[in-house]
């Protein structure tokens, strides 16, 4: 008896159709990627606010904050290698710390990129002040505020205030008391700045932060051992 023809009678034919469909999908997908990628980089995107996201997260706020941080790292990388503009960095950071207010690295790294890559020192200070208020037992926000006031804002009174606070907290780096002493003596502004940047350089494992420290040290005429003056 003759077998009835069905859509899947010819296995080879079906596989060929599937292959063609995937080729079509790849073509459409890559074209979409190209079109989306060529959109204006400074274009304002809509970020769903944390307070709207929270009720739907069913207790998984920390996981959402981690995923949003990974997305922010991609955003940072794309713009660091691209136009060096970071219009959506601050809203991204705010959203992450609203979901996980204890995510210390987001405050620290976020403030560094805001201050030294995006030129938003005031926003960086506000972000770190929020961290200092929420995590009063951690030395890191006070330390970062101290260095930011000293290196970027040249506000030595504020720098002294925050470094004093960092100095009183457990776990702070060994060089903090030296900075405090120097600030009290009001001596050697350049030397203090150099030591602060070297401290930041040594403290981090992140290449992006090391790059910023290296750049700032070059501005002060200091070249790290592996570098040569141009």
């Amino acid at each position: 008896m003759k077998q009835r023809w069905t859509l899947v009678s010819s296995r080879g034919g079906v596989l060929l159709v599937v292959l063609l469909l995937f080729l079509g999908l790849a073509a459409v997908g890559s074209d979409l990627d190209r079109r989306e990628g060529s959109r204006g980089q400074g274009e304002k995107e809509y970020l769903i606010p944390a307070e709207h996201l929270k009720p739907f997260l069913c207790g998984y706020e920390m996981l959402a904050a981690d995923l949003l941080w990974l997305e922010t790292v991609q955003y940072l990388g794309k713009h660091l290698l691209g136009d060096q503009q970071f219009p959506q960095l601050l809203p991204r950071l705010r959203r992450i710390v609203s979901l996980d207010p204890n995510f210390l690295d987001v405050y620290r790294l976020g403030a560094i990129f805001l201050a030294y890559s995006a030129g938003q020192e005031e926003e960086a200070i506000r972000l770190l002040q929020r961290a200092a208020a929420l995590l009063p037992h951690r030395w890191e926000p006070a330390h970062d505020l101290g260095t930011l006031y000293y290196l970027r804002k040249k506000d030595y009174a504020q720098a002294l205030y925050w470094l004093n606070r960092a100095n009183a907290l457990p776990g702070r780096p060994d060089y903090v008391p030296r900075f405090v002493a120097r600030l009290y003596a009001s001596t050697g502004e350049r030397e203090t700045a150099v030591e602060m940047w070297i401290g930041i350089y040594r403290q981090t494992d992140l290449d992006w932060v090391k790059d910023i420290a290296r750049r700032e040290l070059r501005k002060l005429g200091v070249y790290l051992p592996q570098e040569t003056p141009r």
């Binding site: 920390m62 981690d66 941080w69 790292v73 991609q74 204890n102 992006w208």
Partner: protein, 254 residues
């Protein structure tokens, strides 16, 4: 002794269920896969592994609690084994309690397995033993016990499909309830407030069991809060099981 027999039988039956292994394997893959995702971060590998691992344990534990819990009573009725059991000197309330404890044991074994895997994985990235994970997993287990209680409650008087629907709805509502209270406090009238307050205390507030924002970030959790969370979980389990026993005792099984 009779309860123990039901507990062990429920446990053995559950570990023979393929759905349990599918969920467990998927959960372990998710926890292991978190290491790949963590590689995308800049220096937060341990945090991302812990967060994703804990979320996976919570999510897959909930799926185990719901999908095994909903069929607890129904399967026994369908296979007619319930009539054999109840014809022996086994009161209905003990049957429900035994079923619940059996599933609780299954969850304990599963959470321990997933937790051990996460514990060892975190140890590699954190370079020290992550003891802080233990209370986090303890609270998650307590949350799963509450969800199992809810699943047992619905399973005692309705079909598995409806039980799954109701239990999952309560899982979502359980995370919404505090927002509902805030919303009503701002916009609702006096009657609405009373009604919402009533529902707020009747429905489980599952957010209480999520203390990981403090514990996983190395922040201290007050002893009194930890005690109250445990007390809240245990009181809810006892209350919902008593209701389940009451309904099952009055159920016409003919």
């Amino acid at each position: 002794m009779r309860i123990l027999a039901v507990v062990l039988n429920t446990f053995k039956e559950a570990v023979r269920d393929r759905i349990l292994y599918s969920i467990l394997v998927f959960a372990l893959l998710m926890i292991g896969g978190s290491a790949l995702l963590a590689a995308l971060s800049i220096g937060q590998e341990a945090k991302i592994i812990q967060d994703l691992g804990v979320a996976s344990i919570s999510l897959f534990g909930t799926l185990i609690a719901v999908f095994l819990g909903i069929g607890l009573v129904y399967k026994e009725i369908e296979r007619r084994t319930l009539y054999v059991l109840l014809s022996r000197p086994l009161p209905r309330d003990q049957f429900i309690l035994g079923k619940y404890l059996g599933l609780g044991l299954v969850l304990l074994v599963n959470v321990s397995l997933m937790g051990l895997f996460l514990f060892l994985l975190t140890r590699i990235y954190l370079a020290r033993w992550p003891w802080h994970l233990i209370p986090v997993l303890g609270f998650l287990f307590l949350e799963l016990l509450v969800i199992t209680g809810v699943a047992t409650f619905f399973s005692s008087f309705t079909t598995p499909t409806l039980s799954a629907l109701f239990t999952l709805s309560l899982f979502f509502i359980g995370h919404f309830t505090p927002d509902l209270k805030v919303f009503v406090a701002r916009f609702g009238g006096p009657l609405t407030r009373v009604l919402v307050d009533l529902f707020y205390y009747l429905l489980p507030n599952l957010r209480h069991f999520h203390q990981e924002q403090l514990l996983l970030n190395g922040l201290p959790l007050e002893g009194i809060v930890a005690f109250q969370v445990v007390l809240y979980g245990l009181l809810y389990v006892v209350a919902i099981l008593l209701l389940a026993m009451l309904l099952f005792a009055r159920r016409d099984l003919k």
